[in-house]
């Protein structure tokens, strides 16, 4: 059904007039999304439908705007001074950039895991998991808090490793454990969508496997978008893959094509995609 292709040239890189914006179920649709840093157009005209309860991988060479695009999906992009977007992003059919939409509310619905693990150094492991509630001064009974901590840490495959030291600092964990702690922190607030920017790039193969199997478990409840430089990883976990490219430095990045992951890796419609996934460039 949704098999958007593109021609990597100037104007409209991709059209999805046939792409039905999925309503409900936490799907995301980007329409004609231009993303700027000040006057610099970093990503142009993205049209993309992200299917609910599935894993979408974003791949492409360095600097082509994958992180930029990902951050624009939960309004984290505008945290950077003078950064702005043009176009629409629909979550369950509603424009998250619409007038009167509070970015804080959007970020509660669309969680994010960063490339580098960033637990709060002032907080214990348990407090880190509860940070989304505690920082928002949400009142929790002790038992409810304990439940959330256990559920989220189990969800992030970390419970057994830390259950005996929940009150120790989160930054005392290994890098892989910290990253899973950050995932637990993100899922503790029960978002609808989880954005992950190279979540395994700082991890060893074992932690990477743990995070990957975690993603596969989570996708029954969450819509997941993951940026990765690891082709095998994209092929292993994702259902659909979008390939981003850039024509040269200073040029905006754009989506070359998006399709089912097997198709992207076996028989993509664009030459550039095929060159990239087979390692001929990038």
């Amino acid at each position: 059904m949704m098999s958007e292709t593109a021609q990597g040239t100037e104007e409209n890189v991709m059209t999805i007039d046939d792409a039905k914006a999925p309503t409900g179920d936490h799907g995301i649709t980007a329409r004609d999304l231009d993303i700027y840093y000040g006057d610099f157009l970093a990503v142009r005209k993205v049209n993309m439908a992200i299917e609910p309860r599935s894993i979408t991988a974003l791949i492409g060479p360095s600097g082509c705007g994958k992180s930029t695009f990902l951050r624009s999906l939960n309004r984290m992009h505008e945290v950077i001074p003078r950064a702005r977007v043009d176009g629409t992003v629909l979550l369950d059919g509603e424009d998250i950039y619409g007038p009167g939409v509070d970015p804080v509310v959007i970020r509660r619905k669309i969680g994010m895991v960063f490339q580098r693990p960033n637990p709060f150094p002032t907080m214990s492991i348990a407090e880190n998991v509860l940070a989304g509630m505690r920082l928002n001064a949400k009142r929790l009974s002790r038992s409810a808090a304990d439940d959330i901590v256990e559920k989220s840490l189990r969800g992030a495959n970390l419970w057994d490793e830390v259950k005996n030291r929940l009150d120790q600092p989160g930054s005392g964990l290994s890098g892989g454990q910290q990253q899973r702690l950050c995932i637990a922190r993100a899922i503790a607030v029960e978002p609808e969508v989880l954005l992950m920017d190279e979540p395994c790039s700082a991890l060893d193969p074992i932690s990477t496997m743990a995070v990957e199997s975690l993603m596969l478990e989570l996708k029954s409840d969450y819509t997941i978008v993951i940026v990765t430089h690891n082709m095998q990883q994209a092929a292993r976990v994702s259902d659909r893959t979008a390939f981003f490219n850039i024509d040269g430095t200073g040029q905006p990045g754009y989506v070359v094509e998006m399709d089912a992951t097997e198709k992207i890796f076996s028989n993509p419609s664009q030459q550039a995609t095929s060159d990239y996934v087979t390692g001929r460039f990038g």
């Binding site: 945290v79 969680g111 960033n118 709060f120 002032t122 940070a131 989304g132 989160g170």
Partner: protein, 351 residues
Amino acid sequence: MDTATQPAGLIRPLSRSVLPVLVVVALVAAGAFSFAVAGSINIPIVIVVGGVVNLALTYVVSRRAEGHRRAVDRTATSVITTLMVAALVPLLSVLWTALSRGTARFDLELFTETMRSVVGEGGGAKHAIIGTAIITGLASLMAVPIGTFTGIYLVEYSRGGRLARVTTSMVDVMTGIPSIVAGLFAYALFSLIQGPGARSGFAGSVALALLMTPIVVRSTQEMLRLVPNELREASYALGVPKWRTITKVVIPTAVAGLLTGVSLSIARVIGETAPLLVAAGLAQDTNLNPFSGRMTSLPVMSYYGYAAPGFPPEADYERGWSAALLLIVLVLVIFTVSRILARVLRPKGLR
């Protein structure tokens, strides 16, 4: 031959006891030199000559035993160490002077007596201790909130706009204000408000606040900049509004540094003499009202003890040195308390 090209086994590193021996030899030589030239042991001469002799000795000995590259390495290390010792000398000398002269009157009376109708011996610094506490306390009450909030604004809210640039350069200019100018400003201001010649503790604390504020702004800015942006982003990504991110993530992460900055700024102004001389003046008795009447502080008392001693002058000298020693002790106490607080409040993960 260059040692780098020798097989490793041929390098016999100097034994650990050699370098201290060289230092002692150099110092003895320098002492002899000083005695020959100046007729006595002159500490600056001993330090300078001893340092140079030690450098030369280190190079020669190490060169013979270990070769050129190691000798250069050792010499560079020695240069740095010597300069550090040289920097410590004035500090230790000041401490030693204050200790040796200040202890004579560092007694209970110093804390319980004022200078009211004291001529010659006796008397104490109670009035000046209270004055310093009131003036510095009020100055901190003004400068710490203003400075901290300005710093927070500059780092967290301003997005490099004109207001931020103007504020930053004003802060820079303020850092460079000579303290006497701050004192004259406060004096002139209160002369306009309270009538010509008005001096009060509050005028003094306004002058000190003027000096403190830019220091607090600066240290706040630096400490907040040290908080990694990733932590702010992690908080935003959890749907936490900006003000909560600042109060619950950024400030707790930086709190140890913020406290150190505040205590540094207090230490910086607690010994200010010139502005208080002008704005708060000298009194012989305790004055608990900062808004009217002169109020003495420790540095001013110390200054007058030396500048305008009574009879016999030794009594005033001794009280002056005791006041100075007390100031040093106060600064040390402030630093120690802030260190302890910082340790208690430091982010758990960095312990």
